[in-house]
Each structure stands twice: as structure tokens, then as C-alpha cells.
């Protein structure tokens, strides 16, 4: 695989504007190369802001979702490539998995790299995986896979239609009140400029009556709720079941799962899932 190495983290504005232009291609295509930024320096002030918005305590050891945020501009950059027919702006983030291989300090410089692949059929379009790694001194310290659904696109193969396991309603033991400015707050710390999270008009354009909060905010907030109950290193998977409209109120439920956690962000009454999360050591 060829690698394109960038000197610095690319801006997302232009790439995102390109990504908003609808693709006329029907076949889901992603670039074959890797995009990499070496020696990325983490910014304490931005991490502190990220922690304030998501509920984490500002520690030397950074949250794994923070490393996802660091790598995200590379996802946007990669799919802004001429070879890509999949557009991130219209794609739906359906699930995410990441592994913290060892605690990562905010003082470490990270080599971040992303690739796209595993294009496969889905009954509503094509699924594509955006994979990222963070290395420190040649050691992989974090890796993540973000799975997006490109609605209406085609991919080879038979749709993998394994249905979601049925969701058993829970009694939430926490209630989060999400304010109308949360989308702007998370845009500031994540850099994700997708207007679907901040503008009612843009949200309507994508079929939502109100802006929806970024799935990765909900993911981060759910991890932050568990905080020190999390193992020192772990893998975490989430399914984004249903977007959360802003402003809104959601419920949270977590249960010990033998050293890990099964957690859910639900409707206020606990009957419908927004996000299902599994943490395993």
C-alpha cells in the first residue's frame, strides 16, 4: 500500500466542502493509499476543552475517543481524494470500535495514519471501514475502525443483514440534558464541521427535524460516565442506533460485564437505544 505523508494535520473545511458535493457515482470506491501525519503534538488547551465538553477529567492519560478526534481530519482528507466516491458528509456513522493498547500520555507525540477499505454491501447501500492507528516511538498505542454507511451506493457481495440483537429496555440510572449549543461545542473541540450537527436547516436537508449531536460525542460521554471504572487498557465497540436530536434529554445505563461494561444511551425512559457500548479489557 502506498503512503501519503503530510507535514501537518490537514484542515477540514475545504475537504468537507468537497465532500458535500453529491457523488454521481453509484459504486462505492475508497482510495487505496494510507494517509499519515508523523509526530503530531497534542494540545493541552484543546484536550482540556474536549474534556469539559465530553465530561472527562483532564488527566495525563488521554481518553481513546480523543485520539479518534485527532485522527479524524485524516479520514476527511482521505475521502476527499479524487479516487473516492464515498462522501463522508452524507454517510452515516453506524458503528465504531477502538482499542487502547496502552495508556497514552498527552505529552506523547503521535504518528497518526488512516486507511479506508472493507467496502461491502448493505441492504441500504454500502458499508466502508475507516481504520486509524496511533503510534508512539514505533509502537501502536491505539487503533480504531469507524464504519460508515454510504446510503444508496453499491458494493460487491451479498448484504450482510444480520439483524441487530433485540434491545431490552433498561431503567436509566442517569439522565443527561443536552443543550442546544452542544453541537457547536463539540464542533469546536472535534473540528468536525458537518452542519447537520449545528444547523436546523442542514439537519432538515438530511431528513432530521433538528440538529443531531455527533455520535462520537455520545460515545465519549458514555466512556466519561464510567471514567475510573474502565480498565487501564481496553477495547470498546459502539453501535449508533438512533441519532440524538438537540436539545434533548437521554438516559444512561451501565452494567458490569466481568471486568468490562455494557452500557446504553437511551431515550429518557430507557425504551429505545441511541447508542450501545461494550467495553472489554
Amino acid at each position: 500500500m502506498s503512503t501519503v505523508t503530510l507535514d501537518a494535520m490537514p484542515g477540514m473545511g475545504a475537504a468537507f466542502a468537497r465532500a458535500l458535493v453529491p457523488s454521481r457515482a453509484k459504486d462505492a470506491r475508497v482510495p487505496a493509499h494510507e494517509v499519515r501525519v508523523p509526530g503530531h503534538r497534542q494540545d493541552v488547551a484543546r484536550l482540556a476543552d474536549y474534556c469539559r465538553v465530553t465530561g472527562f477529567t483532564l488527566r495525563d492519560a488521554v481518553p481513546p475517543t480523543w485520539i479518534h478526534v485527532l485522527a479524524f481530519p485524516l479520514h476527511v482528507h482521505l475521502l476527499g481524494d479524487a479516487d473516492a466516491s464515498v462522501r463522508l458528509a452524507g454517510a452515516v456513522h453506524v458503528s465504531n470500535a477502538m482499542t487502547l493498547h496502552r495508556p497514552v500520555s498527552l505529552t506523547e507525540r503521535l504518528d497518526l495514519a488512516v486507511t479506508a477499505g472493507n467496502v461491502r454491501a448493505h441492504r441500504r447501500g454500502a458499508l466502508v471501514d475507516l481504520s486509524a492507528t496511533a503510534q508512539a516511538d514505533g509502537e501502536t498505542v491505539w487503533s480504531g475502525v469507524s464504519t460508515y454507511l454510504a446510503s444508496g451506493m453499491r458494493a460487491p457481495g451479498t448484504p450482510d443483514d444480520s439483524p441487530h440483537p433485540p434491545f431490552a429496555p433498561v431503567t436509566p440510572h442517569a439522565r443527561w440534558r443536552l443543550g442546544s449549543t452542544l453541537g457547536r461545542d463539540y464542533r469546536r473541540v472535534s473540528g468536525d464541521p458537518n452542519p447537520i450537527h449545528t444547523s436546523r436547516l442542514a439537519a432538515k436537508g438530511f431528513g432530521f427535524s433538528r440538529p443531531i449531536i455527533h455520535g462520537m460525542w455520545t460515545h465519549a460521554r458514555a466512556l466519561a460516565a464510567l471514567e475510573q471504572r474502565l480498565p487501564a487498557v481496553y477495547s470498546v465497540e459502539v453501535d449508533f442506533a438512533k441519532p440524538v436530536a438537540l436539545p434533548g434529554t437521554v438516559g444512561f445505563h451501565a452494567a458490569d460485564a466481568g471486568g468490562g461494561w455494557d452500557a446504553a444511551v437511551t431515550s429518557r425512559d430507557g425504551t429505545k437505544p441511541h447508542l450501545l457500548m461494550r467495553v472489554r479489557p
Binding site: V44, C51, L58, R59, Q228
Partner: protein, 422 residues
């Protein structure tokens, strides 16, 4: 039932100037870092500790349960209870006394005392007028009543309020109060600068010796006290302009503590618990005393600890010579110097109700590993910085070595405590 309350150790983060490397961190963040460092150092992850007592002087209203929230963010068992205490700059020592007393009474086996302050993240509140109008609107039962309440808001109500630095009853800042004391006790510029230089040199030497290796955990890329200036000197300090006491004043930014950010913790237990759990035992908590002066009536604001020291030594039958080491919190260099002069002053001590002068201190025993002028002074953290530091210093000097801590605090208060090496 009486138990020996002993100091097992402590942990803090390096202190730093306000607006510096911890500018983005909250009290919650700072204290969690210090506490988790302590938990890691003594293998307490998942342990239910009897109680954690902490506090902050500059505290946001939303942090009403600051220490308990920090416990929930830490690796301690979530079943660990906590409370917040506050006694101005005496907070970190008062929390330690609280925990030591509970251990001595057998109410808990093991506890953690703590203090934290962020001058960078000081609470900004709304004016009293705005607050009252909003509360009235909140209580209103009709739209008309609510509108009437909100109509009471005036432009002057909208300015945000920074936390007060002045004594509420005198309107003088702490530095201005201390300038009066400096003048009254005839404390000169050179002796203040000498004390400040010694503080920096002592702290620098302790860092160089690795003394703080088991007392400090790095945070946000800061591995060492960031205010410390190892290369400062009396000559360099002499060049600074007066900060308090007018153009002829002797108090400068160099011989006054800087506004600081930081957090500190101390681990205490009954001697039995410490031995059963294979923990080091540095020193035994002996006794403590608090006192206050009538500064609205003209008394020296920061000499509250003198009466506390006199009463405590009388109760214990001790004199300054019985202490191997003495820690006097360096709010200002002149506070320490005025305190020592007051100890020697027969009339002043009798005026406090003591039987006579407390005595003279051998200066070689004072703040031997540096103190607040060099380390910085995140208000509530300082007591919890000094306590384990002194316990370790005494332990190095051998069993039976006694140490005294003297801390001045806003409101004309003083907190003092005695430790004895085990």
C-alpha cells in the same frame, strides 16, 4: 479508644504559577491527578478508604461536593466517602487534622487529606443584584410577577464578579495587611529577600537530592515545581520593586507568594492498619491547635498562628528547642519573620493570654526543604504539601524527632500541628 494516627506518605502534583501550564485545568482535574498519584503510589486502587477530606479556597458553586466528585473520578473504590472543609489557607492542614482525629478516635482506620486551588480557574459569579432578581423571577408564580422581577435588573448588575481578594471586614488585601505587620514589627527588606532566596535554594536542593521523587507525580508535562528559581539570589531579589506598602515598602513579588495552581494529598492511618498493610510509617500526628486574632480591631492579620503555637506548646510541655524541624508557611517572607519575632516577644505573647514568650527558633531548623515562596501557594493545597514533607524529613532524622507546622490563614486565623517521627 485511642489510636496512633500516623502519616504513611503523600502525593502532590508540581505547583505552578496561575495562568501557566495548568491554566486549563479545574480544581477537580488538579485534585484528581494528585489523588490518583497517591492511589498508584500506595496501591490503593479499588480500596475503600475510611474518608477523604479535601477542600479549596476558590471554589465554584457547582463544586459543592468537590472532594467526593474527585473520589468518583479517582481509582479509589466508589464506596469511599468524602467531605469538603475550608479554613482559608489553613484548609490543607485542617483536613489533615480532621482525618488524624478520626483515626485517633477509631472512627476510621485509614484516610486521605487533601487540598487544591486553581487561581487560574477562579469562580466568576454574578452580582448580588442580578442574583436576587433571578431568584425572585424563579420563585414567581405568574408571568407578570416574573416580568416584574426581571425588570428589576439594572445594567450595573450585569458585571461579573471576580472572587474577592480583600478581607471582607477591612477591605485590605492580604498583602496590604501584611505590609502593616511588616512595618509594625520592623522587618527589613534584606532579611525578607534572604528568607526568599533560602526558600528557593532549599527547595532546589531537595529536588536535586530526589527528595520529592516519592512525593510528587508529574501532571500535564510539568515534572517539577514551576515557580522554583534555583538561581535566584539576594542580589537579584533586591532589584524588584515594592508590591505592597507603597513606594517605601519592603514586600516585593519576590518575597511574597505567587498566585498558584496545584493540589496535594496525604495518606494517614492508624499505626495498626499501616503495619498490617505493610505501609511505611513516617511520623505520628501528636496534636494540633487553631487560633484567631481580632484583625478588624487592628491585630496583625497573619499572626494568628502565634497564639495557637503558644497554647499547643504549653499543652504539650514543649519549647521551640524540642523540635528538630519547624515549618512556617511562607505566605510572605515577612510573615515568617514577624512570626518569629512575635514568638520572642514577652509582652505580645502575654497579650495573647500566654504565660510568656514562646522562645527563639534556631533558624537552621526552619523550612529546610523550602516552602511556599519557592514552591508556590495554591491556597488549600499548602497544608497538605507541608504535612507529608515534614513527616518524611522527620523520619529521615530518626524516631522521636519532633516537628511543628505553623500556618496563617485569612480571617486572622492560624492552624498549627505537631508531628513526631516513628
Amino acid at each position: 479508644m485511642s489510636h496512633n494516627a500516623v502519616v504513611i506518605g503523600g502525593n502532590r502534583i508540581p505547583f505552578a504559577k496561575a495562568g501557566g501550564p495548568y491554566a486549563e485545568a479545574s480544581n477537580h482535574d488538579l485534585l484528581t491527578a494528585a489523588l490518583d498519584g497517591l492511589v498508584a503510589r500506595f496501591g490503593l486502587a479499588g480500596t475503600r478508604v475510611g474518608e477523604v477530606a479535601g477542600g479549596a479556597v476558590l471554589k465554584h458553586p457547582k463544586d459543592f461536593n468537590l472532594t467526593r466528585e474527585v473520589v468518583l473520578s479517582s481509582a479509589l473504590s466508589p464506596a469511599t466517602p468524602a467531605c469538603d472543609l475550608q479554613q482559608a489557607c489553613g484548609t490543607g492542614l485542617e483536613t489533615t487534622i480532621y482525618i488524624a482525629n478520626k483515626i485517633a478516635l477509631g472512627q476510621i482506620d485509614v484516610g486521605i487529606s487533601a487540598g487544591v486551588d486553581s487561581a487560574s480557574d477562579a469562580p466568576i459569579t454574578v452580582s448580588d443584584g442580578l442574583k436576587r432578581a433571578l431568584l425572585r423571577a424563579n420563585r414567581a408564580r405568574s408571568a407578570a410577577e416574573r416580568a416584574k422581577a426581571l425588570a428589576g435588573i439594572r445594567p450595573r448588575h450585569l458585571a461579573p464578579q471576580a472572587p474577592g481578594v480583600a478581607e471582607p471586614r477591612t477591605g485590605l488585601s492580604m498583602g496590604e495587611h501584611q505590609a502593616l505587620t511588616t512595618e509594625r514589627w520592623g522587618i527589613g527588606r534584606t532579611e525578607q529577600d534572604e528568607l526568599a532566596a533560602a526558600s528557593h535554594h532549599h527547595l532546589a536542593a531537595a529536588w536535586d537530592d530526589g527528595f520529592f521523587d516519592d512525593l510528587v507525580t508529574p501532571y500535564l508535562g510539568v515534572a517539577k515545581d514551576a515557580i522554583l528559581r534555583p538561581d535566584t539570589s539576594v542580589e537579584k531579589l533586591a532589584k524588584l520593586k515594592p508590591a505592597f506598602g507603597g513606594p517605601q515598602g519592603t514586600m516585593t513579588a519576590g518575597n511574597s507568594t505567587a498566585l498558584s495552581d496545584g493540589a496535594a494529598t496525604a495518606l494517614l492511618a492508624s499505626e495498626e492498619w499501616a503495619r498490617e498493610n505493610g505501609m511505611p510509617v513516617l511520623a505520628r500526628f501528636v496534636d494540633a491547635e487553631v487560633a484567631a486574632v481580632d484583625h478588624p480591631g487592628g491585630d496583625d492579620l497573619l499572626l494568628g498562628p502565634v497564639a495557637a503555637t503558644g497554647r499547643l506548646l504549653a499543652r504539650q510541655g514543649l519549647t521551640p528547642n524540642d523540635f528538630a524541624l519547624i515549618e512556617i508557611h511562607e505566605a510572605f517572607a515577612s510573615t515568617v519573620l514577624a512570626t518569629l519575632k512575635a514568638w520572642e516577644d514577652e509582652d505580645y505573647c502575654r497579650g495573647l493570654g500566654l504565660d510568656g514568650a514562646i522562645g527563639t527558633l534556631d533558624r537552621a531548623r526552619l523550612n529546610v526543604a523550602g516552602s511556599s515562596l519557592a514552591a508556590g501557594h495554591p491556597f488549600a493545597a499548602t497544608g497538605a504539601r507541608i504535612f507529608p514533607t515534614l513527616a518524611k524529613l522527620l523520619h529521615e532524622r530518626g524516631p522521636g524527632s519532633k516537628g511543628l507546622i505553623s500556618m496563617c490563614a485569612a480571617g486572622g486565623q492560624g492552624v498549627v500541628a505537631i508531628l513526631e517521627a516513628v
